[in-house]
Assembly symmetry: C2
Homo-oligomer: 309 residues x 2
């Protein structure tokens, strides 16, 4: 249920957990974060969170926090941002002002564990109006390397816009719909910046980086270059512009919990032209900054708008 504030006429968008069992638990241990409702005062720590950025690598999520803090003047630019998940190396989490930055590892199962615990954390902390963005890297199809793709729909390896969750041994199909308005706003941020190309397109989410993405350079490969190219061409025809490994379950879980969500990934290479990442470290590093730049711009706009209102 939305919490409504009669004074300023707004309704706050709340976060849903859909689990009747949670209310009867005395304590909730968020094991992979090394946080819990008894051991930590979650509202005091997190109630002001409005933006959550998630990405694969712990180091990247730390440097993103420092970048945002410095740039938006949210805190002392020389401050140290402690890892709030200290005591575990499953995930890393950093906070500065209304921004929470969390790593999720690689692949659907890894991000799904993190999201279960993140959604419960935001719920326990009584957060409202939270926007969650996955910022990551991907392989592109038919795009110049370095292009940033804002995901329209996350599709599976058969190009279907759904995610299959196995529950009690049986498949349950969930929608991978993302927030269309947020995607448009993010595309606009790319245009505002004008420093790199930003497009909206479908994102294919696979369970594997090599055979699952038709790469020819894994330990196993039973198909030809022609098979690969025709699969990628089919994907392109279905609107797919990039391939990564987390967006489908991310979209499905954010939708179920009423979180405004988007996926913004840079393409590190054009998969129609190759499989290996041969660009220099510096070039790849520059590409990886781009989704961060875009989100920084988005957060800046939102914070300025809320100051004015």
């Amino acid at each position: 249920m939305p919490r409504c504030d009669e004074k300023n006429g707004t309704c706050e968008r709340t976060i849903y957990v859909k689990n009747p069992h949670l209310d009867s638990m005395k304590d909730d241990i968020l094991y992979h974060f090394n946080l819990g409702t008894s051991s930590h005062d979650l509202p005091a720590m997190f109630e002001d969170v409005k933006f959550v950025c998630v990405g694969g690598s712990p180091r990247r999520m730390k440097s993103f926090t420092e970048y945002i803090a410095k740039d938006l003047g949210l805190a002392d630019p020389n401050a140290e941002y402690p890892n709030l998940c200290e005591g575990t190396d499953r995930y890393a989490m950093f906070k500065v002002g209304p921004l929470l930055s969390v790593s999720h590892g690689m692949g659907i199962p890894s991000i799904s564990i993190m999201l279960h615990e993140l959604i419960k954390l935001l719920y326990h902390a009584r957060c409202t109006d939270v926007t969650v963005v996955r910022i990551g890297t991907s392989g592109g199809i038919g795009l110049k390397p370095g292009t940033v793709v804002v995901t329209k729909q996350s599709v599976d390896a058969m190009f279907k816009p759904s995610f299959e969750q196995i529950i009690l041994g049986k498949p349950v199909v969930r929608s991978t719909e993302l927030d269309a308005k947020l995607a448009e706003d993010l595309l606009k941020c790319g245009d505002d910046l004008g420093q790199f190309e930003t497009v909206i397109g479908n994102t294919m989410c696979t369970l594997d980086f090599y055979e699952g993405q038709a790469r020819l350079d894994g330990a196993f490969c039973s198909y030809t270059e022609e098979d690969k190219q025709s699969y990628l061409a089919e994907a392109y025809a279905a609107g797919v512009r990039n391939i990564e490994m987390e967006s489908s379950v991310f979209a499905a879980m954010c939708k179920l919990s009423n979180l405004r969500a988007a996926v913004v990934c840079v393409t590190l290479l054009d998969r129609q032209k190759g499989d290996q990442l041969t660009s220099s470290h510096d070039v790849l590093n520059d590409y990886q900054q781009r989704p961060q730049m875009l989100i920084r711009h988005y957060i800046k706009k939102k914070l300025n708008a809320s100051k004015k209102s």
Copy 2:
């Protein structure tokens, strides 16, 4: 093809890559390890590897390396073991003598990326007779917490002993058979030690930690305690003694590449009695040492046997 040594009458078990494209590549970049055939002398670095231990957490794999080094007198006990994947935080890798210790993150996609690159690394380094063991944590069914389970068969959420790999959008079913002799040898090591219970049983491998394992404490739960208990009872009847998230693809990929493989996981709780990990940090830490102790004993026996022969 096995390389045969006529002098001592042994045939060396070689590692297969099943990919005709690899031979035509000038260079092979193992991107997620930050290693490559042009940038590193892989045979010089890795040719003597005989045991590979893999586990989810980078810290645990580092401490395992130190533990083995100290205990087996393989190196200066005060030596520092550098992370061989320095420059990336996707995985961490440590080596001491014939042991390679590698982290794999959480879930099938994460371990699958690591294994593609590990198998290619062992192949490029011309390693032979390699034994790979996953040491990890799991939820038990009908076992006292702290019991170590050596996997007989890795089964999916429908209790089938197979792994479905999506290739070019189509499912390909692979066997998850593990090395039966190795499993027996490892069970024997548990008996030798006599410090904790060790059993052989089937291991269920799921794509999700919460709904996928019938937990009642995720952000979402659409089933009752009774549904959960009846699913776990079905699993138990199918021979399942523990549940984790990597064994199926691990077994399938090791089998395809001719690696002798085993899965050894400790159970952190009995899932029929609960879902949350409420044991103290010290108790959980003690449990997590057990697969390491077992493998240490196995490596010791093997190294002693090879010294004698």
